[in-house]
Symmetry: C2
Subunit: 196 residues, 2 copies
Amino acid sequence: MSDPIQTLIHALTRLPSIGEKTATRLAFHILKTPSESALQLATAIQDVKEKVRLCARCFFLTGEEFCAICMDPRRESDRLCVVEEPLDLLAVEKARSFRGRYHVLHGALSPIDGIGPDQLRIEPLLRRIGDEKITEVILATDPSVEGEATAIYLARLIKPMGIRITRIAHGIPMGGELEYTDELTIGKALANRRDL
Amino acid sequence: MSDPIQTLIHALTRLPSIGEKTATRLAFHILKTPSESALQLATAIQDVKEKVRLCARCFFLTGEEFCAICMDPRRESDRLCVVEEPLDLLAVEKARSFRGRYHVLHGALSPIDGIGPDQLRIEPLLRRIGDEKITEVILATDPSVEGEATAIYLARLIKPMGIRITRIAHGIPMGGELEYTDELTIGKALANRRDL
């Protein structure tokens, strides 16, 4: 087999859940596909690396300074949903139960991995709560050990600020991950959020 | 969500067996991944489209005029294995039971799809049989309706040339596809080939 194909297969196997067999099939599909659509894929990969950055306010992903949700005047401005990762934000959005804004931490507290409060976007979250006159913070970190620890840590920090702080309900299976949860369960978890 | 990400997700869903959920996960993985390895993937896709062409002799894929198998002097030069697609060639190679050379038809006869003998690389196959002093042609087309029809068609054309023409044994499950078959079964099918 010629080298460019092997190189492509190798590059594809580095993607998550793509083994050598799947990578081989994808590579040969790309070979057969019209050049135009293969080059669109290559360009899309480059663009995403060059053009996407973090929203200056909520740290979701955007091509501009602020993300579409932060720029949307129809969103409730006094309510924040805190998530670990951008994919978690998308999962909550899909449930269509939340009309406020978000804050993406980019991780969860995990002393064993060396991830403390300084590695997460916690400092800007606290600043936003004051600046944006937030009345409620919903903690939607994963129901994992790290996610729970992060929620408890944030609740302790935020409670003295005198605003409502809630945790989404554990309708989401413990030990699972938010991004895999179906919309109905996420909607239910939002509705059943409890005060901390 | 910003546009470059949506564009990438859309481009990824056009790959086989990649739904929107998988495409989203892959896109966010690419976002998180170091730029270098994401750009390697983009470059590999471009390279494969620009540099890979068909071997001038057997129509497998190559970056040169001839493929590595055609250029390998250790391969038996008087024996040809005829397959439908490049991926089928790789499946036979993996079985390590065949030491001759190949001929890739790039399809199978399928009147309903408008694929007749002229759409396949049959003419060059007949020329090779004479030019390269071939003594045996092994037909390894898929055990599907089209693959069987192609094998029978080729057997009728080649038999009058006075060489041995064989069909790989139907150890491979009927209705299946060659590229999915495990190496042992392909090895067995090669060993049990029968004269047509």
